[in-house]
């Protein structure tokens, strides 16, 4: 699955799905680890 950012421009109604950069993917995955640790 491609991880994306969904952006809705409220002025134009345009919707974009922008793939995450490698850096953003790393940040997202680290957040998941943090959540899992907090849940334990």
């Amino acid at each position: 699955m491609i991880l994306t950012k969904m952006i809705i421009n409220t002025q134009t109604g345009e919707i974009e799905n922008i793939p995450l950069t490698e850096e953003e993917i790393a940040i997202h995955e680290s957040q998941q680890v943090t959540d899992e640790a907090a849940a334990e």
Binding site: M1, I2, L3, T4, K5, M6, I7, I8, N9, T10, Q11, T12, G13, I15, N17, L20, E24, H28, Q31, Q32, T34, D35
Partner: protein, 174 residues
């Protein structure tokens, strides 16, 4: 004794007529849903209805792509069947407002005040799933300590959204 003066209602008051700005179903694989270029609203209402989540995750609300420690919130749920307090979440110096406890079977409703001012923004809301059960439904209060008017509202999920549910933004014109 002089005649009493009865205070008159302010004629400057305007009604809170919330109009739909945008409503979307999150895209499968999205990690954020952002409403951008928001302008001309003094209040916003955000509704997150049964958001599909790839796996159970936590959704966090931020404004203006600001992930600094400029948020504070508190939410306490009460178990309907017993009245006992449950599901308490709170944080000061937070980097966002956690929509704690929200699952893909529930809905979160939030009203955000003073969105077009340069002062502190306050917000309040509740979580609900349409069933009066033994679950706890937190009532959420929060603040956003930043001077800029709100132009972007972002929901970030710790997992991924699935292609179901609705995220809707309403506004009261300035």
């Amino acid at each position: 004794m002089g005649a009493s003066v009865v205070p008159q209602p302010s004629t400057g008051a305007t009604s809170d007529n919330y109009a739909l700005i945008s409503s979307v179903t999150p895209t499968a694989g999205a990690t954020t849903v952002s409403f951008t270029s928001i302008s001309g609203y003094r209040k916003l209402m955000l509704r997150v209805l049964k958001p599909g989540m790839g796996t159970a995750g936590t959704i966090t609300l931020t404004f203006n792509t600001d992930t600094g420690t400029n948020y504070a919130y508190s939410s306490i749920g009460v178990t309907p069947s017993t009245g006992a307090a449950a599901a308490q979440y709170r944080s000061g110096d937070a980097t966002g407002i956690a929509l704690a406890g929200l699952t893909n079977a529930q809905e979160q409703n939030l009203i955000i005040n003073d969105t077009n001012t340069t002062g502190v923004k306050t917000l309040s809301g509740f979580l609900y799933d349409g069933a009066f059960s033994a679950k706890a439904y937190p009532s959420l209060q929060g603040m956003y300590f930043a001077s800029a008017a709100i132009t972007t509202v972002t929901l970030t999920i710790s997992t991924t959204f699935a292609a179901s549910g609705t995220v809707a933004l309403y506004g009261v014109a300035s």
